[in-house]
C-alpha cells in the first residue's frame, strides 16, 4: 500500500514540487538570457556586435550583470514613502512569475499508472481525468491587473517628477489596452466554450490552431498580441520609461536589486504574454508526433514561445516609439471598435460556417 497525504498519493506532491521547480528555473533562466538575446539580436540588426567581452561571444553577460546589480549600493530617496517604495518592486515581480502557474506547457506524461499533466495548477484524479483551474485565463488577467500596482506605486512613492509621470502613463496605458486585449480574448472563448486553458489547448489538436480557425480569430490574434505588447510596456509602446523624455520613467529612483526586480518583471511579463498567446492562439504544446511521444510537447511549446519573444525583439529593433496621444487614440478609437466588430463577426461565422477547423475541412 502506498503512502497517502490528505487523500492523495505521495506521487502527486513530488510531481507538483518538481513541476514548480522546473518551471521556475526555466522562467528565471529565460529572463536572464532574454536580456542577453535582446542586446545581441538588436545589435546584429543594427550591424553591431552586442556584448562580446564576458565569456565566449558575451555568453556570461547576464550573470555578470546580475552580480553587479546585486552588490550595488541601495539608495532610498529621502522624501520617498518608504513602505510603498520598498514593496513596489515585489508587487511588480510576483504576479509576473506566478501567472505561469496555469499555463499548460506540455501534454500529459504517464509513469506506470500515474498521470502527470505538464501544468502546475493541474492534477489527475483517481479516475485519471485531468483537473485544472477552470478559470485559467481570468486568473492571468487578474494577476496582470495587480502587476500595474507595482509600477504606479513605484512612480508615486519615489517622489520624483519623472517617476510620477512614468507611473501615471503606465496606469493609463495598461487600463486602456487591457480592455481591447480582453475583448479580443472573448472571440477565443466563443469558439472554445470554456475558460480552462487545458481544454482550450486540447481543442486545438491536429493543427486546428485558433489563429487560423477563421479570419476574425486571426485578426483577434494580431490585436491581442499588439495590445499585450502595450500592456507590458514594450517598444513601440514603452512610454512609461521613455529615456529621451523621462530619464528612466517609473524606476528612475531605483537602484541595486530593486531596479533588477523591475527589469526581471518586465521580461517575465514578456514571457508570460508570449506563452499565453501561444496557448490561446497557436495551439499550445501541439505539434507533429506529440500524441505518440508526449515528451516532445514541452519542446514545441518552448520553440513557439521563443519565436514570439524573438518577434518582440524584432519589433523593438524596427519601430520608433509612439507619441502619447497617438497611443491613446490607437487603443480607444481603433482597437476597441475593431474588437467589438470582431466579436459580432465571429458570432456570425460560428453560426454560418461552424466553430470547427474550417481550413482543415477545406484541405481534407
Amino acid at each position: 500500500m502506498e503512502y497517502e497525504i490528505l487523500g492523495l498519493p505521495v506521487w502527486y506532491y513530488i510531481a507538483m514540487v518538481a513541476k514548480v521547480l522546473v518551471v521556475f528555473v526555466w522562467v528565471l533562466l529565460t529572463v536572464a538570457y532574454a536580456t542577453y538575446a535582446e542586446r545581441k539580436i538588436i545589435g546584429h540588426m543594427q550591424v553591431r556586435l552586442g556584448p562580446m567581452r564576458t565569456g565566449w561571444h558575451g555568453l556570461l553577460q547576464p550573470i555578470a550583470d546580475g552580480l553587479k546589480l546585486f552588490f550595488k549600493e541601495e539608495i532610498i530617496p529621502s522624501e520617498a514613502s518608504t513602505f510603498a517604495f520598498l514593496v513596489a518592486p515585489l508587487i511588480a515581480l510576483v504576479p509576473a512569475f506566478i501567472s505561469f502557474a496555469v499555463i499548460p506547457f506540455g501534454s500529459t506524461l504517464t509513469f506506470g499508472e500515474y498521470k502527470i499533466p505538464l501544468q502546475i495548477a493541474a492534477y489527475a484524479d483517481k479516475a485519471g481525468s485531468i483537473i485544472d483551474v477552470n478559470v485559467g485565463v481570468l486568473y492571468i488577467l487578474a494577476l496582470s491587473s495587480l502587476g500595474v500596482y507595482g509600477i504606479v506605486l513605484a512612480g508615486w512613492s519615489s517622489n520624483s517628477k519623472y517617476s510620477l509621470l512614468g507611473g501615471l502613463r503606465a496606469s493609463a496605458q495598461m487600463i486602456s489596452y487591457e480592455l481591447a486585449a480582453g475583448l479580443a480574448l472573448i472571440t477565443v472563448f466563443m469558439v472554445s466554450g470554456t475558460l480552462s486553458l487545458q481544454k482550450i489547448v486540447a481543442d486545438q489538436a491536429g493543427f486546428g490552431w485558433y489563429a487560423w480557425r477563421n479570419p476574425f480569430l486571426f485578426a483577434a490574434f494580431i490585436i491581442f498580441f499588439i495590445c499585450s505588447l502595450a500592456e507590458i510596456n514594450r517598444t513601440p509602446f514603452d512610454l512609461p520609461e521613455a529615456e529621451t523624455e523621462l530619464v528612466s520613467g517609473f524606476c528612475t529612483e531605483y537602484s541595486s536589486m530593486k531596479y533588477a526586480m523591475f527589469f526581471m518583471a518586465e521580461y517575465a511579463n514578456m514571457i508570460t504574454v508570449c506563452a499565453m498567446t501561444v496557448t490561446l492562439f497557436l495551439g499550445g504544446w501541439h505539434g507533429p508526433f506529440t500524441d505518440a511521444m508526449p515528451i516532445l510537447s514541452p519542446f514545441y511549446f518552448i520553440a513557439k514561445v521563443y519565436t514570439l519573444i524573438f518577434t518582440c525583439m524584432w519589433i523593438r529593433a524596427t519601430y520608433p516609439r509612439y507619441r502619447y496621444d497617438q497611443l491613446m487614440g490607437l487603443g480607444w478609437k481603433f482597437f476597441l471598435p475593431i474588437t467589438l466588430v470582431l466579436i459580432v463577426g465571429n458570432a456570425f461565422w460560428i453560426n454560418v460556417v461552424g466553430a470547427g477547423n474550417w481550413l482543415g475541412t477545406l484541405f481534407a
Binding site: 490528505l6 514613502s81 513602505f83 510603498a84 483551474v133 477552470n134 478559470v135 481570468l138 486568473y139 488577467l141 487578474a142 494577476l143 491587473s145 495587480l146 500595474v148 500596482y149 504606479v152 506605486l153 508615486w156 517622489n159 510620477l164 507611473g167 501615471l168 496606469s171 493609463a172 487600463i175 487591457e178 470554456t194 475558460l195
Partner: protein
C-alpha cells in the same frame, strides 16, 4: 483540518488589513490595504468552490482601486495626511459596530440552519462548472435585472462623457 488552518490565516489577514484601511493616515496606504482585503476575500471565494467569483473580484476591484489611487495622486496634494483626530466619530462608529454584531448574532441564534443542502451543491459545481452556472442563471432567470443594470451603466457612461467634454 488544513482547510480550517488556511481559512483562519486568510481571515486574520483580511480583518487586519480592513482595520488598516480605516487606521492608516495616508490615502494611498489605505487603498493598498483595501486591495489586500479584497484579495483575501477572493481567496475565500476560491475555498468556497467559486473560482469565477474570485477572479472577477480581483479584476473588478483591482481596476476600481487603481482609478481611486490615480484620483488621489492627481487631485489631492502629494503627501496629504489626515492629521486631525476624530475621537467622537471613532467612538460612535465603534458603538454602532458592536451593536450590529449583537444584532447579527441574535438573528443567527433565532433562525437555526435547516441542514438541507440547496440546489447548488459542490458536486454540481464540479460537474457543470462555476462559470457556466453563473452564466446560465444570469442570462435566463435573472435576464431582466441584468439588462436593467446594463442600461444603468450605459447612462453612467453617457453622463461621464458629457461631464468630461463640455463642448461636444
Amino acid at each position: 483540518m488544513p482547510e480550517i488552518l488556511f481559512f483562519t490565516l486568510v481571515a486574520a489577514v483580511a480583518i487586519l488589513s480592513s482595520i488598516l484601511v480605516v487606521a492608516m493616515r495616508n490615502p494611498i496606504n489605505c487603498a493598498l490595504s483595501l486591495i489586500m482585503t479584497f484579495f483575501c476575500l477572493a481567496t475565500l471565494y476560491v475555498m468556497l468552490d467559486a473560482p469565477f467569483m474570485a477572479a472577477v473580484q480581483v479584476i473588478v476591484y483591482a481596476g476600481a482601486i487603481m482609478v481611486l489611487i490615480v484620483f488621489v495622486i492627481m487631485l489631492l496634494n502629494m503627501r496629504t495626511e489626515t492629521s486631525k483626530n476624530y475621537v467622537h466619530g471613532v467612538l460612535v462608529s465603534c458603538i454602532v459596530a458592536v451593536l450590529t454584531l449583537f444584532v447579527i448574532s441574535g438573528f443567527l441564534k433565532k433562525s437555526p440552519l435547516t441542514g438541507e443542502p440547496g440546489l447548488m451543491t459542490t458536486d454540481l459545481v464540479d460537474k457543470v462548472g462555476h462559470t457556466e452556472l453563473i452564466g446560465r442563471a444570469m442570462f435566463s432567470d435573472f435576464l431582466l435585472p441584468f439588462e436593467i443594470t446594463s442600461i444603468l451603466l450605459l447612462v453612467a457612461i453617457v453622463g461621464s462623457v458629457i461631464l468630461a467634454k463640455r463642448k461636444l
